[in-house]
Symmetry: C2
């Protein structure tokens, strides 16, 4: 079967929904009146099909389209375009779910490391993982490196750039990455552990290429980027190159795409090994159910794709560790940034975070 | 003055709005508790400031933040990140407007050609411009080239790829571009005119680089891309390289960013010489007022930035030419795709479109 299934929620009357669904199928494929298409093959194999229409609450319907896989070209950005490019401009339409045939999943590739590969990188086979962030932007490479050294010495598994750290004068990418990776390498030599640095990649194609080269030269094994800022296609290419990838949800909240579908499925499909998303109870309004959906979508068996590690973040603190692991289980990376930095003593707070997580080694 | 002004519309109570605005300023800059920031410079120069709060309809407020220009690093994707990265995940917040100091506008660059440069490319100094699209995807390079030849012979100024044409098997980028540019070159030699081909660029950084090389080899002078799919940073880099850029709004409708701000201002700032957006009265729900706002934002004087050409599209037909030019004036590129293809005779319909537009040469 060479079509993917895309499910949309559409606000429309019962009288209008059939025509509306057909129009959506056209919009998300050939984008022209079908009567004007002369090639039979295009009718048979390229034009999207309405596969199902069902009521979905008052005044709303769930429409499932069969979209020809060939229109995606196997490229993640183009997949997003065919799923929700033009209809993103139609505010009565939102994208709810996506399913692809197994062969298509394999063709996209998914995570190159997955949860297992991340565990191998940091050397933690069973327990939940810890992550913190280098902040604030505006700090020098030396300041960020010192912070990284402290966090690594405290036992944090993954240290990411704040997503606001790009290529600014205060800490240009190459200088920052060399300094931070150096500090983390030194901490690892002293501790015997394997803390992993995750610098933030940003910019257009040329700048991204330069940053990836600088990162590799510095010995970086994993990078972060925001697919909705830098392109889902960039995630796919970086995953194919062998670096592990952490996806940040910046600009992703407004997309009118269900969070579990965008973050748990599409980011994973494109190759994100870890997916950050706003945790419930923090600065963002995601519900607990929504967060559970994201984590489930990231981790559940999906064709042959490796599972991606959920990284709930935002408003987390060491005091919530047990609650979070109780909620998500062990296959989670807990990200705590600001709460460590505002503690009276960073080293103590980070150590407390680490200790609480390690104590949950045998949580089911 | 080294801050840009970003205006947001926030749903909040009067009792909560002060704290909410301060939280937004933190979120869109340092993203950590300010009390934990030890460097005075960061407090003074990096943390965003609440510059104004005003009522904006029942239960809503307009909040203006002063965001430090240094946080953008002069890079268009990072600008979008600082404007709306994290708060895109907070559904009560939408981005309404952006203003930058003149020096910052110049630093970003804006369009490298602008409306004047596009007119020079196609040789039409005063009248409105015409554009059509190569459809449907799934067609072979030869079929697309034949269509391009017909449209060019009819006098169309700009011929763009359908935004669904990426790098699929049916018409891989390099083969398609060579065939289409060849057909258009032949038509131009025969007619003495200067029809411009605008292929669609897609993919991650490596693929974009390959496509740009192939495009240049084929003699392409202008490319199209969807900034919300491929990254606003890509627009900026391509503009800096000397190619003209047409921006497609795919995935841009859902962003909770005011269309005039996203399409008319930010796409222009990043370097789009022409900005496509859904025209009122077509398949998309944009109002006439919204369309006027987009066109105004694209064209009005803005620091030293060249104006961008508005390209209203979607549901247009030759019969609407006079209405559209009456609405927008002469500084507009009318895009008609499907309506030409579904006409009884394409050459006649395209010629009718062209004739109607040329007749408006002296419209004010």
């Amino acid at each position: 079967m060479n079509r993917l299934q895309a499910s949309y929620r559409i606000r429309a009357s019962a009288a209008a929904i059939d025509a509306r669904a057909r129009a959506l199928a056209i919009e998300q494929s050939v984008e022209m009146p079908p009567a004007a298409i002369t090639e039979q093959r295009i009718h048979d194999e390229v034009v999207a099909r309405v596969e199902d229409i069902a009521a979905d609450g008052p005044g709303h319907f769930r429409v499932t389209l069969g979209i020809a896989m060939e229109t995606t070209g196997g490229e993640a950005g183009q997949l997003l375009n065919m799923l929700f490019g033009n209809c993103s401009l139609q505010e009565e339409v939102s994208l709810v779910d996506v399913d692809l045939p197994e062969a298509a999943l394999r063709a996209f590739g998914g995570p190159s490391h997955g949860t297992g590969g991340l565990r191998a990188l940091c050397g933690a086979t069973a327990r939940p993982l810890t992550c913190s962030a280098l902040k604030p932007q505006g700090s020098s490479p030396a300041a960020l490196a010192a912070l990284a050294g402290t966090l690594a010495a405290a036992g944090i598994d993954f240290i990411k750039d704040d997503h606001g750290l790009a290529d600014q004068h205060s800490a240009p990418f190459a200088a920052r990455v060399a300094a931070v990776q150096g500090a983390i390498d030194a901490a690892n030599r002293a501790s015997g552990r394997q803390c992993v640095y995750v610098p933030n990649i940003s910019g257009g194609p040329l700048r991204i290429g330069e940053q990836l080269r600088a990162a590799r030269e510095a010995g970086v094994r994993m990078v972060m980027l925001a697919p909705m800022i830098s392109g889902l296609g960039a995630v796919q290419e970086i995953a194919a190159s062998g670096l592990a990838v952490m996806a940040h949800p910046a600009l992703g909240g407004a997309a009118r795409i269900a969070p579990a579908t965008l973050i748990g499925k599409l980011f994973r499909l494109a190759g994100a090994d870890a997916v950050i998303y706003p945790n419930h109870g923090g600065r963002f309004g995601y519900t607990a159910a929504s967060c559970q959906d994201i984590a489930d979508a990231a981790r559940r068996p999906w064709g042959g794709l490796r599972p991606a590690m959920p990284v709930p973040a935002g408003g987390m603190s060491p005091a919530r560790v047990e609650e979070m692991v109780g909620f998500y289980g062990r296959e989670v990376m807990l990200l705590i940034g600001g709460a460590l930095l505002e503690a009276a003593d960073l080293r103590t707070a980070a150590g407390d975070f680490v200790r609480r997580v390690h104590a949950l080694e045998n949580t089911p």
